[in-house]
């Protein structure tokens, strides 16, 4: 099975994700030599219902470096681009250390963590 794809969100239009965390995660991805997708801001894509979100959601296992899993799930759902819960892992750049996120992104193993209906949200770290 091929390793999960990687999606990095730069959360460009707000200052809620620490800049040093964003920079370190992106730098590690660039240093790793793996292929990945980087978007300026998932919220902005959702706001204008960018069809690219459907492609990102529909292409199999994925690891996403962004913010809270509950928010990321909702953002994709709001554009009718549901992420597959069994094969999506969200790393939270608002709360997790950059190096931990980078290591998780680059690991071939995937730990699905989208919150399920009726269950408490999952703490990643």
């Amino acid at each position: 099975m091929s390793p999960p794809r990687i999606l990095y969100c730069h959360c460009h239009y707000a200052q809620v994700v620490p800049k040093e965390v964003k920079e370190t995660v992106l730098r590690r991805l660039c240093e790793s030599g793996v292929a990945f997708e980087a978007v300026a801001d998932l919220c902005e894509m959702t706001a204008r219902r960018d069809p690219a979100l459907k492609q990102l959601a529909a292409s199999g296992a994925i690891k996403i470096a962004a913010c809270f899993p509950r928010a990321v799930k909702g953002l994709f759902h709001q554009t009718a681009a549901d992420l597959p819960p069994e094969s999506t892992e969200v790393l939270n750049m608002r709360t997790q250390p950059a190096e931990e996120i980078a290591a998780a992104l680059l690991s071939p193993e995937l730990t699905p963590n989208l919150p399920a209906k009726g269950a408490a949200a999952v703490v990643v770290n």
């Binding site: 091929s2 390793p3 999960p4 794809r5 990687i6 730069h10 959360c11 460009h12 239009y13 707000a14 809620v16 920079e23 992106l26 730098r27 991805l29 660039c30 240093e31 790793s32 030599g33 793996v34 292929a35 990945f36 997708e37 980087a38 978007v39 300026a40 801001d41 919220c43 902005e44 894509m45 959702t46 706001a47 204008r48 219902r49 960018d50 069809p51 690219a52 492609q55 990102l56 292409s59 199999g60 913010c67 809270f68 899993p69 509950r70 928010a71 990321v72 799930k73 909702g74 953002l75 759902h77 709001q78 608002r94 919150p115 399920a116 209906k117 009726g118 408490a120 949200a121 703490v123």
Partner: protein, 283 residues
């Protein structure tokens, strides 16, 4: 908001192109993200999203002719020797040529509904004066007009009894999407408290405070001073609201509330829409 697909940027390092140093790759991608572009880095293993009909610009350090990607939507640009900012300029030109929309210039602030928690109670639809919410064909609540939302105002999330409304760019949980705690689960109580705090009518309270401010400052001779005082007063109001478990409505939103009769009209319209949706659910 435009629905046209955005330009996709591919940083290409495959056959027919020289690889980038890691620092150059980082610089180029950072610069493009800061200009609002989405970038696919194809520097190594792992799959990326397939071509999807979006216009694409492929950037590379091509030694000679760029590869033929056999796709009419693909434009190639040789970026050998260019600095990060120049690469972003090249892409901006390609965006214009492709007639792809320009993005940015607007903080994407709008509610995101957590449908795992939402009970379709229509409190948000009933509350919002700005027509952000609506219902789909099955009378389920949905966000319909993102652009109508007031930047930095999370008030509708405060009235949601299930903590089901998120603003991902908000500063604190659970509104920002963080875990919903036991305290947050007590939202029904919070909703009652807010209602009591505001005398049972949120908009009447806001209108009264706005009118008081207008009355006070209409007596001021120095309009600049009056404006400064008014803003100071409203900032204090917002802080007081926050300290009291209030709604965290930004001063500029309070300042921009419409006239009382218009507030009443919009509130009634919103309540009517919610009532129709709830009736449809029951039938």
């Amino acid at each position: 908001m435009p629905l046209a697909p955005a330009l996709r940027v591919v940083l290409y390092e495959g056959a027919g192109a020289q690889p980038f140093e890691a620092a150059d790759r980082f610089g180029a991608i950072s610069s493009l993200l800061e200009r609002g572009f989405a970038v696919t880095s194809t520097s190594g293993e792992r799959a990326v999203a397939p071509a999807d009909g979006r216009p694409i610009v492929v950037l590379g350090r091509f030694a000679g002719d760029a590869p033929d990607f056999q796709n009419a939507e693909v434009r190639t640009r040789d970026i050998a020797g260019l600095a990060a900012a120049q690469i972003a300029d090249v892409v901006e030109t390609a965006r214009t040529e492709a007639d792809a929309p320009q993005h940015g210039g607007w903080k994407p602030w709008f509610p995101v509904i957590d449908y795992d928690r939402c009970t379709n109670c229509m409190q948000c639809l009933s509350f919002c004066l700005f027509g952000v919410y609506g219902v789909d064909g099955d009378s389920h609540i949905q966000v319909q007009n993102n652009e109508n939302c007031k930047t930095n105002c999370p008030a509708c999330s405060r009235v949601c009894p299930e903590a089901a409304i998120m603003f991902p760019k908000y500063k604190a949980g659970p509104i920002n999407g963080d875990i919903v705690s036991d305290a947050d689960l007590n939202r029904e109580k919070m909703k009652i408290d807010i209602s009591a705090l505001l005398g049972g009518d949120v908009y009447d309270m806001l209108r009264q405070r706005s009118e008081k401010a207008k009355s006070r400052f209409s007596k001021e001779r120095d309009s600049d001073k009056a404006l400064a005082e008014r803003q100071k007063c409203l900032v204090k109001l917002a802080a007081a609201q926050a300290a009291g478990g209030g709604m965290d409505i930004p001063p500029e939103v309070l300042m921009s509330l419409p006239a009382p009769d218009e507030i009443a009209r919009r509130a009634e319209e919103a309540r009517a829409k919610a009532a129709v949706a709830l009736a449809a659910q029951r039938s």
